[in-house]
């Protein structure tokens, strides 16, 4: 008897025989049914500032109760959470029993305003993310999806109903890079970004700049123009500094001037909010008014050191409305 199943969650569309797992390692075919084996069983649990996600236009200086389980549907050579993402549930030393109600209660106890589904990729622990997010909404908490966006459209649209914000990686504007470095492909990620925007989820985009692999300024310019046209010029874009990790220890950290040039390209392309991340003390981590250049939010690392927006989320000098979720 053929007890294969086809997972339709992400573009990989894994056909999984009985006893096997999807490419993500945690969606397992047991007795002809696909099991979400890490449902309610995160292996990474932390309380993070929302700036660490990074989300710079969403409840600044608030705390996000952040969870991640084993498994991932990408296999990035530079993964910084590979001990979590590139293992299955049975290989984890620590597993915390946190079903959705307990997760929400823990977030409330710790005075967090949101739950963040992060660290590995919440796409693969979709059911846990969905049910926790629904419970969080009932409790008045917000939901943050920190993802690579490698998911099929229908599941994503269903998930968007319980999401408030997302930081989605756009790892490069190059399908070859995606295939070589992440084992994924570019098109589904672009589609996910558009879906998130269409569904009204507050969206910020992160691009990790890796020396020699995706730091070409022409590619960065093309990416910024695509974001401007497809997602809108008010979409915050974060250029993040690469550090040697996992199977990509042969490359140096991204020079700060590379990030500066990338930021300038994106600003020149018409994006209004372009940030530099992973460089403590860099002025590119601050938010400035796109109309008159007034400093609106100052940040050092993940700490907000100055907040000058009006209560309505406007520039205090020129009254320009600054897009985001401020309250």
């Amino acid at each position: 008897m053929n007890r294969e199943v086809t997972c339709e969650l992400c573009p990989r569309q894994c056909v999984i025989p009985e006893g096997g797992a999807g490419d993500c390692r945690i969606r397992v075919n047991l007795d002809g049914k696909l099991r979400a084996t890490t449902y309610g069983r995160p292996s990474s649990v932390h309380i993070d500032p929302v700036e660490k996600k990074p989300l710079y236009h969403f409840l600044p200086a608030s705390l996000a109760f952040s969870i991640g389980t084993a498994g991932c549907n990408l296999h990035c050579l530079n993964c910084q959470n590979w001990q979590l993402s590139q293992r299955d549930g049975s290989e984890m030393e620590r597993i915390y029993p946190l079903d959705p109600p307990e997760l929400v209660a823990a977030a409330q106890r710790n005075e967090c305003r949101s739950l963040a589904y992060t660290y590995s990729d919440p796409v693969v622990f979709y059911e846990y993310t969905h049910d926790s997010a629904a419970a969080a909404h009932e409790a008045g908490l917000r939901n943050l999806l920190i993802t690579a966006g490698y998911i099929n459209e229908r599941p994503l649209r269903a998930l968007c109903r319980v999401l408030d914000a997302s930081n989605t990686d756009l790892k490069a504007f190059d399908d070859g890079f995606y295939r070589r470095v992440t084992t994924a492909t570019l098109r589904p990620v672009l589609d996910s970004l558009v879906t998130l925007r269409e569904e009204g989820v507050w969206l910020e985009v992160t691009n990790l700049v890796i020396p020699t692999l995706n730091d070409d300024l022409a590619m960065i310019r093309a990416m910024a123009k695509w974001i401007r046209d497809a997602l809108g010029p008010d979409t915050p874009l974060h250029f993040s500094r690469f550090y040697p990790m996992y199977r990509m220890r042969n490359l140096p950290p991204t020079p700060a001037d590379t990030l500066d040039r990338a930021r300038q390209e994106a600003l020149d392309a018409g994006l209004h909010y372009v940030y530099v991340g992973n460089v403590p003390g860099h002025p590119g981590a601050n938010t400035y008014c796109p109309r008159d250049g007034t400093l609106l939010i100052a940040r050092t690392g993940f700490v907000v050191t100055g907040y000058y927006l009006t209560p309505e989320g406007r520039c205090p000098k020129c009254n320009e409305p600054i897009p985001g979720v401020w309250q």
């Binding site: 294969e4 199943v5 047991l30 099991r35 084996t37 069983r41």
Partner: protein, 79 residues
């Protein structure tokens, strides 16, 4: 064993070199196979260990969404 060109110790040396080359080559090939690769595929995991952890409550047997029964065998097994 002795010939005009090879002495016994030459043969032994060649055998040793061949063994080392095979061992190193096998190791490298195994590493390439385990590395990230493009395309779709399911993975073989320690199902017994997963079932054991489900029995103790450390893992969940919650049924997933977004799947269907059946499928044509395609893709590759991953380690």
């Amino acid at each position: 064993m002795k010939s005009k060109y090879f002495h016994r110790h030459d043969i032994e040396l060649l055998a040793l070199v061949a063994t080392v080359v095979l061992a190193v080559g096998g190791y490298l090939l195994a590493g390439l196979g385990a590395g990230p690769q493009g395309g779709s595929g399911w993975r073989r995991i320690d199902t017994a260990a997963v079932r054991a952890r489900i029995r103790t409550g450390e893992l969940s047997d919650r049924e997933a969404r977004w799947y269907r029964a059946g499928g044509t065998a395609r893709g590759r097994t991953r380690p």
